[in-house]
Symmetry: C2
Subunit: 491 residues, 2 copies
Amino acid sequence: MGKKLTKRGEDYSKWYNELVIKADLAENSGVRGMMVIKPYGYAIWEKMQAELDKMFKETGHENAYFPLLIPKSYFSKEASHVDGFAKECAVVTHYRLKTSEDGKEIVVDENAKLEEELIIRPTSETIIWDSYRKWIQSYRDLPLLINQWANVVRWEMRTRLFLRTAEFLWQEGHTAHATKKEAIEEAKKMQGVYADFAENFMAMPVIKGTKSDSERFAGALETYTIEALMQDKKALQAGTSHFLGQNFAKAFDVKFATKEGKQEYVWATSWGVSTRLMGALVMTHSDDNGLVLPPKLAPIQVVIVPIYRSEEQLDAISEKAEEMMKEMKQRGISVKYDKRTTHKPGWKFAEYELKGIPLRIAIGPRDLENGTVELARRDNLTKEIVNQENISETLTKLLNEIQENLYKKAFDFREELITEVNDFEEFKEVLNTKGGFVSAHWDGTEETEEIIKNKTKATIRCIPLDAKMEDGACVLTGNKSVRRVLFAKAY
Amino acid sequence: MGKKLTKRGEDYSKWYNELVIKADLAENSGVRGMMVIKPYGYAIWEKMQAELDKMFKETGHENAYFPLLIPKSYFSKEASHVDGFAKECAVVTHYRLKTSEDGKEIVVDENAKLEEELIIRPTSETIIWDSYRKWIQSYRDLPLLINQWANVVRWEMRTRLFLRTAEFLWQEGHTAHATKKEAIEEAKKMQGVYADFAENFMAMPVIKGTKSDSERFAGALETYTIEALMQDKKALQAGTSHFLGQNFAKAFDVKFATKEGKQEYVWATSWGVSTRLMGALVMTHSDDNGLVLPPKLAPIQVVIVPIYRSEEQLDAISEKAEEMMKEMKQRGISVKYDKRTTHKPGWKFAEYELKGIPLRIAIGPRDLENGTVELARRDNLTKEIVNQENISETLTKLLNEIQENLYKKAFDFREELITEVNDFEEFKEVLNTKGGFVSAHWDGTEETEEIIKNKTKATIRCIPLDAKMEDGACVLTGNKSVRRVLFAKAY
């Protein structure tokens, strides 16, 4: 292969960038900050999409599609929202190109200037609530539970494949409710769906909590988040769900007639996860040999590689392999048989290790005689000889075991890295040596948060939902605090 | 309901617009020419996507994702391509908004002007072939068979929901091949896939053919098309597949090493269908009562409406309905039970008729006694009393029958409307009175095509793949022709 991967211990950031490219997940494009998602990366994203979409539909949501472009005037209607996004908006100003007067190049046609500029959606609250005004008249029209799968553009200055890109793919849920209580319940419910997906499909443990004021979504009254911990001990915000109050309903004048015939503003939520999850997936499980994929999201769960000298041997192995594959497919295992004669088994082994295929089967002439195969696990790199008989049962069991093992490993890693501290020296010490989450008292002010951020680069990742109430003193100011919050350096 | 639909015979165009809106498929947004696809419309599109995606994967294609924005310089590299799209390009020129100096409004920040303008993709050949240069080195990298599901923007001046919108959703396949022969085969194969989808899922008969020079895709050497006929006797181009020769490989310098070690330019195809198919679906089958959906694409195939006076009756009916639904779901029938007490049965009947649900079941107290249900077909508006026993078998059979019946009806309609003509007076006469496709000899020149278009508004829809070779005289000029082509007025 000639593709030596940088080790995580040497340079984690370089390891990540190299891995994403070498494993054929994504690459940079000719457009600043925008990526190309390659087929193998997209296949993983499709599996994520399929599971999430199912979960959204099971919780009563329907998909719809709203325009890519948002008139500037809509965008400006909710004040804190536009403040939050104005600095990173791609703006469409013209709608035609033409040949230059000297006939030598293609230029923007200045006669085709738009009367009002259009913004490429960085998120769709404004264009969606403009529609909701028409869709919602009465309490009978509520709740309105809509999701959109879409691309969005945020003109980020520093970009990294999947983690922060100028264009990314995501889903954005936008719901409308008759009561505040119901909207808050919805926002929490979707945080729960995200946590469920992260833990049960991505095998990535997350902490559920709320954001502090300064980290809240632009336009939200409360942001519910799920926070994960990467192998370099930095936190990553993996999904957010927002209670928007009546802000957008007021900005877009969306009222409904209650059962009693009164006109009231509608309550809103929005929630999203994006291709950023691909980065989280890579950084949670992968190792110095390449990707490690949880079986539930692996486009190929099992690969079979024949080991042979002669063509007769290959034919005999292929016959057996086809037979086994049939059995596996019936069990819903996705399997690939790689009988390419252009590459040696060792090359193939390295390739599938790099690509993170959970299980690898090798079959040679001796295996045919003995009715066995060699089975290699990607997660712990162990090998064993197993019987061909009931192979698909063995594989199903092992795939489940790998899925669980990956979660457990990530969970144990994360648990080790939540440290309670009680003074600021210890706070800095833990952040700089051990890393991970620091659980500390905070006086609840934005000023304190800002000072801590400037001194340590750590931010409040969340106020955990399960934080117990306890009297304490703020780690920086010594002022009164009623519960600990989680700080960390973050992506 | 109070939603009286204009009749097709009165004003077909008005009927279409009203139907799309009243059936909750889509609506116009606040952005000129851009639509909102509503949940019911999107659910149909999702079914189309799922089937097409399966067909693409079965023919060896993988999905990927490329940037939304294309640098102007890429866009200009293939001359005929830029000529074809320059007049309808949305152009991004800035990447930031700011508060105006007087603090009163949000304006474009002139300091955030892009060095090079970016075009929102109207189609992705240029950005994709810029990547392919990096992906393709050797014959071993070929064929490269990629598809992308995406949104595109074309600044159309006259727009209509689904049929022609400034933004639409589509898939675009982009493949690279070692030989001309293989690329042509691919382009034809995908035309075949589209025809298969149109006929077997949309129940919409299509004619396969090639486009004349003037109707060809900008940058293609040959465009393979599928053409359908709508109920107003106008043709609709439903999908196209292009053989691009080496045009894009040359523009983006994509060469590969052959087995013999020579450097050669790669051969290309591209192919796409879009949300325009939604318009085609509506216009092929629907009637004066509303939508008519082919069962294979109907989000809800069967709806059950209870007919009751007392709550006890409703409870008894509900019990039976739940039982039947369980059986139906096991058979893979998608069914909805509408026991809303807020609406009368008659209102529900009209609603589901408007929404095109293929089968409607009504159950009343007498049905419970007799072990029967009333079953109504949406396609031919007939009703019959059937036994509850084996209901799901009855429904499966009927759904297949409806699917076939819709195809047959559309096919017979279309066959009646292909008329051979041999002189220009007859040509005009048929177009103006009978409508549909006119099969006529054509001398093969763009000039003749242009004159005919100006005189009659009819264009060459395609040169049918199965056109038999026969000597003839051009219907306009009398010049030599070797086969008939199909003219029609078109969407």
